[in-house]
Symmetry: C2
Subunit: 198 residues, 2 copies
């Protein structure tokens, strides 16, 4: 087997969800692509890796010191939505319904994986709130054991700000989900938090 | 959304089976990788794309003019196994049972996709055989309509070599396949080509 092919297959298996078979398929596809197109791809990966950074305010990915969302004067700077990771910001932005700012923790507290509160951007969040102007913090982190631990820790830290409204995104049955396949905990929560139909 | 992230996501969706969601997941994984590791990956892709070539004898991928398989004096140079594509060579090599040489056609005849016999390395195969020393050609191309057309065309071309043995790999029920889920054509062939148990 060609050494160059072996190398590229080995390197591509570093990516998540890419085994040897998939890597081989990707390599053979790369072989058929236009040389300029391959160059554009590798160049964009290199630039992304070396130039992208985290917004100094919200910790979201950014090309500059402060990300476009934090810089946007049209957005509601009195509301901050706290999420675990960068992908969550994109999911919420895709709804085009939220007009406030974000704060990316960079994970959840997990003793198992060695992630302590100090590894997350919680101090940065408190600094932002301490500067004033923030009225509401919406917590949008997952309902896993780690997520709940993080929520508990976060609540303790945020209580130091009197008058700050702290909310959590609604939990319930997703649109299109069939009750038959929804787990008991979600159904229990959805029943407890039922709403009057107006 | 960060322009650099947007770029890398757009570029990664050029790969087969990679949609926007997967591209985003890959980008976020790249973000967490060691910078040197990312550089190794993009460098190996660039080198593969610019330096790899096709063996002048068998059309398999090669780092040099002639691939290691064709150069190997230990292998049986009197037998050539004809396959559609590079991946097929790797599949057969993985069995470690075949000791002859290969010939990669580079596809199958397909009027629908505009692939004519002249687009395949059939002339190159005939040239190899014309040089003498080849006793058997094993045809290992797929049993699709295009594959059968290619086989038919190939047979006509190979008949010009008197004494050349032309064989086809056995068709039948795969190991581990359950009869219940095997298509009728395969079962029909497997029944017709049944063998006496010795």
């Amino acid at each position: 087997m060609s050494k160059l092919l072996q190398d590229v297959v080995g390197e591509l298996t570093k990516l998540p969800g890419v085994g040897r078979r998939t890597a081989l398929r990707l390599a053979i596809h790369i072989l058929k692509m236009e040389p300029e197109s391959v160059k554009d791809m590798t160049r964009s990966i290199d630039r992304f890796k070396s130039e992208v950074r985290h917004c100094a305010k919200c910790n979201n990915l950014s090309d500059e010191e402060i990300c476009p969302i934090c810089q946007d004067k049209e957005r509601d700077h009195s509301t901050i939505c706290v999420v675990e990771q960068i992908a969550d910001v994109l999911s919420i932005e895709n709804t085009r319904q939220y007009k406030g700012l974000y704060h990316v923790l960079g994970g959840v507290i997990s003793p198992m994986q060695g992630i302590a509160p100090s590894d997350l951007k919680i101090d940065l969040l408190c600094d932002r709130i301490a500067q004033g102007g923030v009225k509401e913090v919406i917590v949008a982190i997952s309902t896993s054991v780690e997520g709940e631990t993080t929520l508990f820790y976060l609540m303790n830290r945020l209580r130091q700000f009197p008058g700050l409204k702290i909310t959590s995104i609604a939990r319930g049955i997703g649109f299109g989900d069939e009750l038959e396949y929804v787990d008991e905990l979600t159904i229990t929560h959805a029943l407890m938090n039922r709403r009057v139909i107006e």
